[in-house]
Symmetry: C2
Subunit: 227 residues, 2 copies
């Protein structure tokens, strides 16, 4: 059986659950092989300080059926400036069956020019930045537009993963994985989006996140000026 080759780009500062939620879903069926693609072999420190380890490098990565870009903290800004990473994504996208992202990973795809003329989504706090990069932003949890599949913030990676898996392997496989992972969520609070979280929570998070969002905006504006 030919394996479906799925690769997640990983980089210093990547948000680990942007990768690991979808990874758990996509790695379960025997017909998939999942790669963590780094610039180099070895440890990559996530935004949370978790040590991830690449399984291949951009140079050695096989042609992927799915290339997926997770979001990150400040480290993501470096990726948005890094021609090697952007070239790797452009190259893989030529032959990939699906070009995908979770969270702010869609900003990286956009900077690489891979969402031009496509609908896509992003973490709620960065959707204006995705629009600034010329993308038609659809504020949904998972957005499919032709072969682009994008997820919203961090935990959307599980919904994204199941949706993508159903495209790759069919709905019965996706349903089986959902049951295996007992994905029957019961959030203890109704605070998962700004419309329900309440203004106190929204404002405190926006204030804490301002330096990060400003750093992203600087890079987004610089890129948008060249588009």
């Amino acid at each position: 059986m030919t394996q479906i080759q799925i690769g997640f780009l990983i980089y210093p500062g990547v948000v680990q659950l942007d990768v690991m939620g979808a990874h758990q879903v996509l790695a379960f069926p025997p017909q998939t092989t999942v790669h963590l693609v780094g610039k180099t072999f070895g440890p990559v420190i996530s935004n949370e300080g978790v040590i991830l380890t690449s399984t291949t490098t951009m140079a050695d990565c096989p042609p992927l059926d799915v290339i997926c870009v997770p979001g990150g903290g400040l480290g993501q800004v470096e990726v948005m400036k890094d021609s090697e990473s952007l070239d790797f994504l452009k190259q893989q996208s030529i032959t990939a069956q699906y070009v995908a992202s979770v969270c702010t990973g869609s900003l990286i795809l956009a900077v690489a020019g891979l969402l031009k003329g496509y609908k896509a989504t992003c973490h709620w706090a960065f959707r204006d930045q995705l629009a600034r990069l010329g993308v038609e932003v659809v504020p949904q949890r998972v957005v499919i537009d032709r072969n682009r599949v994008t997820g919203a913030g961090v935990t959307s990676g599980i919904d994204f993963g199941l949706t993508l898996l159903s495209l790759l392997c069919g709905e019965p496989v996706a349903r089986t994985v959902q049951l295996m992972l007992e994905y029957d969520p019961e959030p203890p609070f109704d605070a998962g989006r700004p419309e329900t979280a309440g203004s106190t929570v929204v404002n405190s998070l926006l204030q804490a996140g301002k330096p990060l969002m400003d750093a992203f905006w600087a890079q987004t504006q610089a890129t948008a000026a060249q588009l």
Copy 2:
């Protein structure tokens, strides 16, 4: 500010999302420090082939405010037999504020004698095994009984993490993290528990999982005979 020390036991064959879902939630607030505790320093291969890396060892681990045990594949059976791991859990539980688990991790807690007389939950397919170990099984997503906090299968780690975080740091902090992680789940299918997944999906999964469940049962029966 004194940091809240949270430790996840990791071991070969651990299910990575059992750890990473709760880790993402619990690591976000500045007042927490999260450790991945291994038998040794260095790489630990998850059930999915993901290379995790311990940040401390059982011998070097500081006293934890929260000790959390994630579930695993076949590798978990070795942990259930491993006196060093069970002794570590027993020792930490004496002073820990919370003794916790995700997925089949509760079977390890039970084998260590740490759920005797407590209500707890587990992955749906292993609840009979948890009951066989003398635990009062409550088939809920997250179960709190005094200072025991247990989660159901794999993806429950996020609900578990938010619940535990609200106990540790208060509800406003947990709500802020929920918004940051955009945890507003929209499962694409209604297949997250056996009651809704349909008998075809349930039966195919139980058939595929039979060798694993049999290996767990053998160890559960052996332990139960000594309780």
